[in-house]
């Protein structure tokens, strides 16, 4: 089962290597990982999407907590949360398909951020499933390149990492 975990860590030397090394060293899977400092400059927040059964997820959560640099771990899977991911998609846009690309962009409230005679670059923010859908619809036009940030998540209302 897919799990989305938020990890609050000390923003210090080697912390990303500690977390990613923990996953590789113990054979845990990482589907995506995004990390950046929070509003407090000495704290970073990671969002990790991973897979595993309950026993593995319990170990992932405990092993993350065991790292000295880890301040807090929250598995959002059973919580109410908002997930957003950013994607940049470079898609072929020749004369016959230009209009169709723009239609898809419009429907999904994405936007075109770079235009050349033969391509559009589309910026899309949304839930990961929405981004999957846009990519699926743009694929017939010819996708040249896709870059995704991996989701970042935050709990709804009072639910969250900051407690």
């Amino acid at each position: 089962m897919k799990h989305t975990i938020s990890v609050l860590v000390e923003n210090e030397f080697g912390v990303l290597a500690r977390v990613s090394g923990l996953f590789s060293g113990r054979g845990f899977n990482i589907e995506s990982l995004s990390v950046a400092p929070t509003n407090e400059p000495d704290t970073s927040r990671m969002t990790i999407v991973t897979r595993g059964d309950d026993r593995i997820l319990e170990q992932i959560s405990k092993q993350l907590n065991k790292l000295i640099s880890t301040i807090k771990v929250v598995d959002f899977t059973d919580e109410e949360y908002v997930a957003r991911e950013l994607a940049l998609i470079k898609v072929t846009a020749e004369s016959d398909s230009r209009a169709e690309v723009l239609r898809v962009v419009d429907i999904f409230r994405a936007k075109v951020v770079d235009v050349t005679p033969r391509s559009y670059t589309v910026e899309m923010t949304g839930a990961p499933a929405k981004i999957d859908a846009v990519i699926e619809l743009l694929t017939p036009m010819g996708i040249k390149e896709v870059v995704r940030s991996g989701p970042v998540v935050i709990g709804r209302g009072s639910k969250g990492v900051a407690g």
Binding site: V9, G14, Q59, K62, I71
Partner: protein, 571 residues
């Protein structure tokens, strides 16, 4: 603020002063270019430095020092190869949860990442085998990092912590003050133990019909031998110990079942298989203990006392976990049990049949071996060392058959007297660990029980023993084989002894003499006692070489993939 506050010190002086303030009296190490400033300051320092002949040995020695004293062992090594040589020692300590602080020199910060001479990314290399590590990037962080390193190493589940200290930071100077306390948002180990959970544990134990205590290395680290002894005697519950906990409970106690697992006793493995309540005390359900996991204690409810939350439900689903320091947990448990004399009496009465049953197993298949008058049996040597040494003698081993025989046949009676690499299984551990133990306790007997294979992995430490007049005794059980691997090849690979016969016979007596130690040798059964006695009487390091039966096997043995009740009893 202390009086040190006004002084301006260099990084290397700050390091040594901080070590002194942490109460460090002995460090083990090896100099080199990237730590030369530290060694220059050591020249004037009250800290006593022991120069080993290899950085790996320095770490094992600090590990032996830590296991016997309970204090943090300290190592200094240089950058690059000095650091990489420490890695096996660090991994050994990590697997067995031994508190160490390792200081490695590093190339100057400006050169880091440039493939500079003797540069290795020590924080990268040791990340998976340390509890934590630090690269010092600013001198101002150094006192805090040292304080945190010692705190992390010794608290919670102990472990090794590495500090990588670049050369330019050793030379830079600043006003020094050592922090009074640590403040780490991410590190707050659970010490207390939940009282309600402990109460539930007490109830489960008091209601059991066939209880067993399964005690691991955590009991040694937490120094709970007195509490353990008292609780097991009060309740009359039998106790089996892992390799790591052999000295945590007296071997000759009527409730002692000896070691369990792959080379455990018949009665320990049967007790665990048949019990209805297994209480894991500082033990982590290692695969060498459990055998086939679904057959392990399959009829039992399981209670687990452990300081490390990741140890809970890792290999085995437990019914009642209690996270906390064993000292607190067992003290509280003992108190709760003392308050229920009636229920305790009922438990003791109810479990009489269970103990009688275990006595039956003990009579049916006691620990033993086939003695010989003509050829020295390795088990016999260990029994004789056990009988002829003092009660507080410290025993170390290397890894292999001799290690298992020591666990099976040596009679331990005091805690922290058995040092062995249980988790990582590091050949070459025993001699340097004995060295460290002897540094900690100059007046106690320290004996490294070794095999001819393992001994050659760190035999250079004979030089350190002689230089520092450390009267460690080494007993090599020489079968000219890598015996444990040979045993597996005999049993599971049709006696194809691939690369396990040590074809070249080493003259170990001459080797000892070359270093200035005493060498003794025998291949006669009736000389075993006199060799051991002579070695113990000599005031200096002695190497004893016993030419033993070459193809003796460690039995019982649980074949890989089998349940521990499916052990093979004798060859």
């Amino acid at each position: 603020m202390t009086e040190e506050a006004a002084l301006k010190l260099t990084g290397s002086q700050i390091l040594l002063e901080s070590l002194r303030l942490e109460g460090v009296e002995k460090v083990f190490g090896y100099p080199g270019g990237a730590v030369i400033n530290i060694y220059d300051d050591l020249y004037d320092s009250p800290i006593n430095h022991i120069l080993t002949r290899h950085e790996q040995a320095a770490v094992h020695a600090a590990d032996g020092y830590a296991r016997t004293t309970g204090e943090v062992g300290v190592v200094i090594a240089t950058s690059g190869p000095g650091g990489t040589n420490t890695v096996t020692g660090i991994a050994t300590a990590y697997m067995d949860s031994i508190p160490l602080v390792i200081i490695t020199g590093q190339v100057p910060t400006a050169l880091i990442g440039n493939d500079a001479f003797q540069e290795a990314d020590m924080c990268g290399i040791t990340r998976p085998c340390t509890k934590h590590n630090f690269l010092v990037q600013n001198l101002k962080d150094l006192p805090r990092m040292i304080k945190e390193a010692f705190y992390i190493a010794r608290t919670g589940r102990p472990g090794p912590v590495l500090i990588d200290l670049p050369k330019d930071i050793q030379v830079a100077s600043m006003k020094f003050s050592y922090p009074d306390k640590v403040n780490m948002r991410g590190y707050k180990p659970t010490i207390g133990g939940n009282e309600r959970q402990i109460g539930k544990a007490a109830q489960m134990i008091l209601k059991a019909k066939r209880p067993v205590f399964y005690v691991g290395g955590g009991a040694c680290l937490a120094d709970v031998s007195p509490e353990l002894l008292e609780i097991s005697e009060l309740l009359q519950v039998p106790v089996t110990t892992t390799l790591m906990a052999m000295s945590a409970f007296p071997s000759v106690h009527p409730l002692a079942l000896g070691m369990l697992g792959m080379h455990g006793t018949y009665f320990a493995n049967m007790s665990v298989t048949e019990c209805d309540l297994l209480v894991a005390i500082g033990a982590r359900f290692d695969d060498r203990v459990t055998g086939r996991i679904d057959a392990f204690a399959s009829r039992a409810k399981i209670i687990q006392f452990d300081i490390d939350p990741t140890s809970i439900h890792k290999n085995v689903r437990v019914d009642l976990p209690v996270v906390g320091d064993l000292k607190n947990v067992l003290t509280s448990l003992r108190q709760q049990l003392r308050e229920k004399p009636q229920e305790v009496a009922e438990l003791v009465e109810r479990t009489a049949d269970w103990r009688a049953n275990i006595e039956g197993w003990k009579t049916k298949h006691p620990m033993g071996y086939k003695p010989s008058d003509t050829i020295i049996k390795p088990q016999y040597v260990i029994e004789r060392i056990s009988d002829l040494t003092a009660d507080d003698a410290i025993i170390t081993t290397e890894v292999g058959q001799h290690q298992m025989w020591t666990a099976q046949f040596f009679k331990f009676n005091q805690p922290r007297t058995f040092l062995t690499s249980g988790g990582l299984g590091t050949m070459g551990y025993g001699l340097p660990a004995a060295l460290g133990a002897q540094v900690a306790f100059p007046d106690r007997q320290v004996i490294d029980i070794s095999g001819d294979g393992s001994f050659q992995m760190n035999s250079q430490e004979l030089a350190t023993l002689v230089q520092y007049r450390l009267p460690v005794k080494i007993a090599i059980l020489n079968n000219n084989f890598l015996g444990m691997v040979r045993q597996w090849q005999q049993l599971f690979f049709d006696k194809r002894y691939s690369e396990t016969c040590m074809e070249l016979p080493i003259d170990f007596v001459k080797l000892a003499e070359a270093y200035g130690a005493t060498g003794l040798r025998t291949d006669k059964v009736d000389e075993v006692d006199s060799v051991i006695q002579r070695a113990l009487e000599i005031d200096g390091p002695v190497l004893m070489e016993f030419k033993v039966c070459r193809e003796e096997n460690v039995m019982p043995m649980v074949p890989a993939g089998k349940g521990i009740h499916e052990m093979v009893l004798a060859s």
